[in-house]
């Protein structure tokens, strides 16, 4: 029951979350209706970007920050529950929402593709797996950030940090492609940050079977790493009165 109430809370905590899921799902049929849609359009890539990368930022906004700021955490944190459990169940709540959302998206796209024949469904299953994996990575990073960032600023912080991190990489690659610094920076972004590039490769079928398995393992390992950091932060956090 403990797991159930904590997992369901991640979906019920804001009425707007139901509207977010609905809005995200509605975007797919709208794109199907676009007249200028190229025939080579990859539905998998769109799911990866729209539901895999953007949705977790919306769903995890303020997942701990709102509670900490409102003081609700002062009631929850005095209950006989480990703070690590609280973190894990909240993350699982997001991950399960993503799984249900992606299943609905998959069914919707298959139906629309069958009805209209528009776009391509090449490697759709691999894209769906990659989407769920990248969702989990972003969700874990955002949830951990929410422990230390006030209110629901965790998502915006993550968006800004991503832009700030990627812009120098783009410039470095443009001007100093072969320098050691660029290579180290590139390796950090590729393997230390949410593995967008690696999982896009998985969706596009760039890897052999062992390479694909390694990319999945890498993504899961990063999710665990971000989650562990969040648990450590939560366990060492003080819950003061009126944080904001």
């Amino acid at each position: 029951m403990k797991a159930y109430v904590l997992i369901s809370e991640t979906f019920l905590r804001k009425t707007s979350l139901r509207l977010v899921h609905l809005g995200w799902l509605l975007a797919y049929p709208l794109i199907f209706l676009m007249p200028s849609l190229p025939e080579t359009w990859q539905w998998g890539g769109l799911v990866f970007a729209w539901s895999g990368c953007l949705l977790p930022l919306i769903l995890s906004a303020g997942i701990f920050g709102d509670d900490i700021a409102s003081g609700r955490i002062r009631l929850v944190a005095t209950e006989p529950i480990r703070l690590s459990e609280l973190y894990i169940y909240r993350f699982l709540g997001l991950s399960l929402q993503a799984a249900a959302h992606l299943l609905a998206v998959g069914a919707l796209i298959l139906l629309l593709h069958w009805l209209t024949g528009r776009g391509s469904l090449d490697r759709f299953a691999a894209w769906m797996l990659a989407s769920w994996l990248i969702f989990n990575t972003w969700a874990a990073l955002s949830t951990s950030l929410s422990v230390v960032v006030s209110r629901d600023h965790n998502s915006m912080t993550l968006v800004l940090a991503t832009i700030i991190l990627f812009f120098p990489l783009y410039m470095l690659l443009l001007f100093f492609e072969d320098s050691v610094g660029t290579k180290i920076y590139h390796a950090f972004v590729r393997y230390g940050c949410p593995p967008v590039e690696v999982l896009v490769g998985l969706g596009q079928g760039r890897y052999s079977l062992p390479g694909g398995v390694a990319s999945v393992a890498h993504s899961l390992a990063l999710t665990v790493l971000y989650g562990a950091a969040g648990i450590v932060l939560l366990n060492n956090r003080e819950f003061k009165y009126a944080a904001d």
Partner: protein, 316 residues
Amino acid sequence: MSEDGSEMAPVIECREVTKVYGGGRAGRKASVCALDNVSWQVGGGTIVGLVGPNGAGKTTLLSLIAGLLFPTQGSIRVCGHPARSLEARRSLGYVPESPAFLSCYSARAVLKHHAALHGLSKEAISTEAERALLQLRLEECADRAVGGFSQGMRQRLALAVALLDNPRLLLLDEPSNGLDPIGVIELRRILNEVRQSGATVIISSHRLGEMERLTSDYVFLYHGRIVKFGRDKVEQTGHVRIEFLPGSPRVTQDVLAPYDVVEESDTRLVVAVNGVENVPGVVGSLVKAGALVTGVALEMQDIEETFVRLCRERAS
């Protein structure tokens, strides 16, 4: 005594607890010492009031016991277990100063949610939630969204949450905030029931009159330091009223030095004594000065008078 030996342990045990806030990086923010070397023990079955002016450290002390803050120095144990441990949290219920709930949840859903966090079975969750709704008389609004609750209703719901699973220690931070007079009477009834069940209640409140009716012991906090005193001590630190026969020689302040004369008339003197042990000395001085003493009585100080006196003493 229980198997783990926790039965004999005090319900709360603070040892040389210091809490310093802030300082910030590079000392840009001034650090504030909210609690300074506080040692305190509380046994079972009592209602203790935390009294002190704003900023005395009452909420900090409650938060430390609840495990919401870490002490800078010292240690705190709740029912024999370190504060913030799972066992300590299993023993306590906490009502914060401004309780907050998920606004879309109903009161019943909130209670079931918190009962589930206690690890109860599905049936026990429903039973506990219904019991709490009845106990706090929240049945009528049980299925209303908490977002529309008044402050008093939120306060009652927070108390209902804290009472789930019969805690051995109840920590209440300004529990009568927003409660109407009936709500305050109800609160008193509930807390007395809790005490009779053997649990300990710690209340922080500014409503001293209300505290006096609720509590069996006080702890006075001033600038992060603790001055513990029980009701007996309150009585002893009052004034002594001395009655004379008419026509007694007038008593001057010199006769009574170093005690202060608070009130004076032809037949009566009220003297501030520093403890009941000084009364015979005061009376002896008066008799030596020729006063025809007919009666001596201790005037009891209520908590408000004691609070003001202690504040003045500490400030000076």
